[in-house]
Symmetry: C2
């Protein structure tokens, strides 16, 4: 524990400034990834933990994470659990050791698919459902009479456009999600060429 603060072998065996430089590079990545978390709908700390596990490519225990990111035990515990729930990091048991280690998925495309699937389910599906419901309510409320009120027609048109848009967007997500793992990579490349 004293000798191998982090990065295991590198710290011990390095003969020049490499380890500290490696650490600096990793820290830069972690900071930026944390800022970017919002884009993914993940808070800063969770994104940083994930970045740490991803970029070091080394399983780490709770204490490693706490120490390197300067966060409390409670925070580390909850964030690690949440990341496991998302499915973008995994627990790892080791023979004869009590503490648990965590490692990131290595496939970026798979991580992306997982996150996209979850966000679609949580945020897009309900909105699409609401729009459809609004559309139904509008028809019902209007039944024949006054269906030609300009205001009603305008709202109906807007709802229809939005429903079409959300429907297509949802299908795109579906396509990506359905092709998780690195396969997506190839599909996207082909797609881009065909444009």
């Amino acid at each position: 524990m004293t000798a191998t603060t982090d990065d295991g072998a590198a710290v011990v065996r390095g003969v020049n400034g490499v380890p500290s430089n490696l650490r600096k590079v990793q820290d830069d990545f972690i900071r930026k990834w944390g800022e970017m978390g919002q884009v993914w709908g993940i808070n800063r700390t969770m994104a940083e933990i994930h970045a740490l596990l991803y970029v070091t490519a080394t399983p780490q225990c709770t204490d490693d994470v706490m120490e390197r990111l300067h966060i409390s035990r409670g925070n580390a515990s909850m964030s690690l659990r949440a990341l496991c729930d998302w499915g973008i990091i995994r627990r790892q048991h080791r023979r004869g050791e009590r503490r648990e280690y965590f490692e990131s998925l290595s496939d970026v495309w798979e991580m992306f698919s997982i996150i996209a699937a979850e966000r679609k389910r949580r945020e897009m599906d309900p909105v699409l459902e609401t729009i459809k419901q609004c559309r139904r309510d509008l028809d019902e409320a209007v039944l024949g009479k006054a269906a030609n009120e300009p205001a009603v027609i305008a709202t109906r048109e807007r709802l229809d456009s939005m429903e079409e848009f959300m429907g297509l967007t949802n299908k795109i997500f579906q396509t990506f999600i359905g092709n998780a793992k690195s396969g997506l990579n190839k599909i996207v490349k082909v797609l881009l060429k065909s444009l």
Copy 2:
């Protein structure tokens, strides 16, 4: 002002319950769209104002917005300005009237393109830049010696995967942004068929 609280004609001319039902439908949409704002990186109030202007398809002035959404004058003013800055709503002057009206863009695909472009610029570009910088720093720091440290190799591989991913994602955004307006609609439909 007393007679036409909102929705102009509909309120005055409606002969049955239509106007209030229309209003309810619109309010449902507005509420849900506000919740969804986060997905787009837009706060709740801004999203609600936009939803209001979009779904009613009727230009509204600051007071209309304040009253219908129950927000303060300051909030309305700042949010409307921000939406104008984004470019997803537009100011409208009227002859002989001092107050300004605001209306939403009507093309959903255009709105999407605008938002995507802005978010790419603000959030994805800097991250991609950081990753590239990290990659350079890593090569530099290691120059020949110790370049084969397992920890260094691992981090290098991870950074490369991420860079490739972000690069492709960026290109996809670029493609969408470059095809703003309804043209996108067709492109997406074609794409989905080809999958």
